[in-house]
Symmetry: D2
Subunit: 339 residues, 4 copies
């Protein structure tokens, strides 16, 4: 069992079939094909409002291209210190943002709290053209520590953004897991709460490689498309991105996969706690951060379980990530099988 990340999982059958089904015929390139032209409608239906969908092949691309329209070359993006865009995407935000700067803030379990954000933005003293003034806020849902903003929390952050004239970006590499955990409508934690742009992840949750930039503000389309092209992220065989995304949202596949992963994580938490581990954060999505002693860690490794130490939380901390195909029954039987 490999819990090192959800990106170790393969393509799920429905999406593989959708790719294979595209392998019969010719189709126009660069998004002019039939499948690509269905994207806006499909996601507008899913979100209950008109959206513009710009697919790319990686979550980093979705974040960087998606953010690029929300901040000027002289502006700042407020995010949590532990945000993926701050920790794990090289200098990509400055690259796609022509110099834009990340402004890290703190908060429990990788979450920005609305009050903290309000204080931070309210106490920021602009020094005119000398200072980097915040122009955008970026949150991750579910977060880098496996926690989930509930509907009220996102709404509160959206309100703070509106109050201070900030655009709001959501890194949704694990958006499906958050929606599944909250059992809410996707609109509730996006445009209804003030999110301008969402990176809607599919890669980690069953796709081969596709994450969609969802624009809730259609005026962003032109810049975002140009940024995508210039970054080298416009697929010629664009239909293969579209086919993956359409299969992903058809019949709620995205939610079914996410619910499975979340359930697996809950089962894993229980099994690990039974063996003596303790959760570092209340796990809500498909990521589990736990503390355990060396002995337990070694026994798990000896049993072929793969997982990663997570030093930023502590020397005895580890991350386990479940996926759409994690074997729930095996997970439940871990305490017995490892003993």
């Amino acid at each position: 069992m490999n819990f090192s990340s959800d990106n170790v999982s393969p393509i799920c059958p429905e999406i593989l079939n959708a790719i294979a089904a595209e392998s019969e015929s010719a189709a126009l390139p660069y998004g002019a094909d039939d499948k690509s032209r269905q994207l806006d409608a499909a996601f507008s239906a899913l979100f209950g409002t008109d959206v513009c969908v710009i697919p790319v092949a990686t979550g980093t691309a979705a974040n960087l291209v998606g953010l690029s329209g929300l901040v000027s070359p002289f502006g700042g993006v407020v995010c949590h210190h532990h945000a993926h865009i701050n920790m794990t995407e090289s200098t990509g935000v400055a690259f796609y943002g022509s110099g834009a700067k990340l402004l890290g803030i703190d908060g429990p379990s990788a979450k920005i709290e609305a009050d903290t954000l309000d204080r931070c933005l309210g106490s920021h003293i602009s020094n005119g053209m000398h200072s980097v003034d915040p122009e955008c806020v970026a949150i991750t849902q579910s977060t880098e520590f496996g926690t989930v903003y509930d509907v009220a929390e996102v709404q509160a952050i959206g309100n703070v953004c509106q109050k201070h004239g900030m655009r709001l970006f959501m890194d949704g590499a694990r958006f499906a897991n958050a929606v599944a955990a909250l059992d809410c409508h996707p609109a509730d934690i996006t445009w209804k709460a003030g999110v301008d742009v969402l990176s809607f992840g599919a890669t980690k949750n069953g796709a081969l490689a596709v994450d969609a930039i969802i624009l809730f503000d259609p005026k962003l389309r032109r810049h975002t498309e140009k940024s995508r092209k210039r970054g080298g992220h416009l697929f010629s065989k664009h239909r293969y991105l579209a086919a993956q995304l359409l299969a992903y949202v058809q019949d709620d596949l995205w939610l079914r996969n996410a619910r499975h992963a979340n359930e697996a994580a809950k089962a894993l938490q229980k099994s690990l706690e039974n063996m003596g581990a303790t959760a570092a954060f209340p796990p809500q999505g498909n990521e589990l951060f736990i503390h355990m002693n060396d002995d337990l860690a070694q026994r798990l490794r000896d049993a072929g379980i793969v997982f990663r130490p997570w030093a930023s939380i502590g020397p005895d901390a580890y991350r386990f990530v479940c996926a759409w195909n994690s074997p729930i029954e095996l997970i439940k039987s871990l305490p017995q099988s490892i003993g």
Copy 2:
């Protein structure tokens, strides 16, 4: 029949099977999986020298990331005015090159001639830190007008580059078609001729989406990997890029596909000439640029043949591109079927 581009073709079966075969098990992300770790060896064998392989999902990314290590932020990339990097990749070279500038030159049928290049580089008057001095030459093989540099031509360009201290980049979006047309060893038109970096295209020739940056100079690896990551082109499920590439080079699939496309283009040329068209350039790869009158163009369209006008060559000019799956027998019978 759709000849508007080779990128309208679907995935070929061997590559689809390779993708499907990856859908059984977990694998480490970001290139640490078994398939990805085979890439350097597979391509080193193919090229007959040690190479470093850095796969990305689009040809534009392969060009831009690949070039980024060969030119400084203050330097120039000499290319043909009609080069894809100059005409069709937005401001991508400056983006990935931190400001680097394209310096266009002329030449027949989208080819740079070694003599012209030598004169151009020899007559360039550097103005020190004021001027943009050439640091790199980029050629496309096969070219944007469907022609192919022969071995001696690439070697001559390589010699000029060496003489003037230039790095040499090759945009090989249709590299397979060139090798198939020349019936040469891939080494003959790359590292043996002085090419430092090659973008080795697979997407147009049967893959879903993968082009490989081939580094013949291992010292470029670190910069190129960092540039790929920052650009958002490092796949988490990297194995799917690797699987495509390994299938593509196994049992000469890349050359078989290219030979098929080239043969189809030759048959198409013959058929069109039989109907009154004339080739704008001697077609060598899988792209065909022809002149024809409105009547013939209309009859082809009426028969459901798809192709594109090509205004940069002339008002009566059109492009037809064949692919790995073009129906050669149908193409041969065009004069009869259209009448």
Copy 3:
């Protein structure tokens, strides 16, 4: 006598006095001082319309910062191949323009002709997000070959720009020499002709170091000020830029200096022609490009005259530049003194 450039000339007395006069008292930094606050009014009076003035210390900075507000990161700036921004400012346009690309066109004596520009813009085939589409036109007044656009020519270019939705930038490093040569109102060749931004040169014409970015569109102020600051061009002792500029435009000093330089160039042309040289272009401002034989060139050098060969015009071509302090009587007597 040193004709290698007008930038070899020292500060003129009026401007030196203005600098010295600022050396008595304290003044607020970054443009909040009294002198700086007079700039907008002084130049609005000079141009006969409301302008915003943003001073920097070099002509390159004035061009690059000034252009940065007129073109997107994905767009092109049409200019003459011989334009200073294309030939002598490194990769600065892409740097300040976040990737923006120069698109060189031809024209006689370094001038863009309105008809050529119209054809070029009219025949440009946008390829959507793939291509770099022109967004701005940049002309130099007076030009890099010492010629001057007359009022009708600038107006015609302005009309073409308006027709095609282009912004219009003017590199006026030697703007004073052009106005002096044309004996026109500065409005006639700027905002009345459609110029959006002008770099108004003073450094070559008597200042220590200051060129002003003149914005005819006040909406550009915010971006331009931020770009100036980020580029490191916002002076703390801003008053010294302002003092130079105010002295430069007071009592028509700028025009008096320019008239002197133009007159010197005319005298020099006459003297050189008397000695057998021929003008490469009809000299209109303070720059003179001539053809002469080796013998004459050597005799001039032997007499201590400094000037520069200009290979881009021809092997027997040379440039002579006169300045605000060129010794006109000595110049007139050159044929006698050299013999």
Copy 4:
């Protein structure tokens, strides 16, 4: 009396005379003149080692251009949160550094402590191409809070940098004040302590506008010169930068000016303390940060004293900056004159 900043002070007589002396004759541009060619020798003598001097007109330019050669587009610059490059230079570090990122750390009175730095660098977990790894450390001497690193402190930081393979940059906008305060040789707190590049400020300490980038590593010259030119910071009348710098270091003018400013600051501290203020930090250079009550602040303002509130230190905190021309006797008599 205006203590709002040292940049409100005018040019000092020696430097104004040097500028005026350059106003007699012609001189070659862009650093080829006699004065500019003396710079390397003059500063090599001053520092007791071979240095390369690259002058620019602002402190921000000196910092940004100077740093640009010490960090890759994917790397990080460790600095204090309160560093000028982090707080007051827009997104300039990312701009000149092609994306390079600032990594802020804490420390008392705007100083980085060697132990903290060592822990920070030692505990940094590189995530390969995903993370931004520190490549350079930047310190300010004297600091943004008016404190001064002593010789041992700089040496300790230099040792930590060497241990971790970091380059070391020093923002010396007020370097003279630090040397004057320490009464040390300038070598002791620069190259002997491991500093690679120093921005050597003159503007605030008596010049019109010039700060010199001092390269202790000559291999940085080429990149730094290209970066300066592209940024628009290469003066055509370069001799006026050189003349200022030569006058500034001749006969220890830079130290005499700095000693005066430091002495004025000490006198001011004493006067303010006599009136009830308390120093926020031990003042060492020419900047004074104090706490005082509203009543005292108002009485000072009523007496025509100009100074600035400094909210980042506290609601009752203010900054006073003395300069080369601050009236020491008047400052001493403040308690009497204000009463």
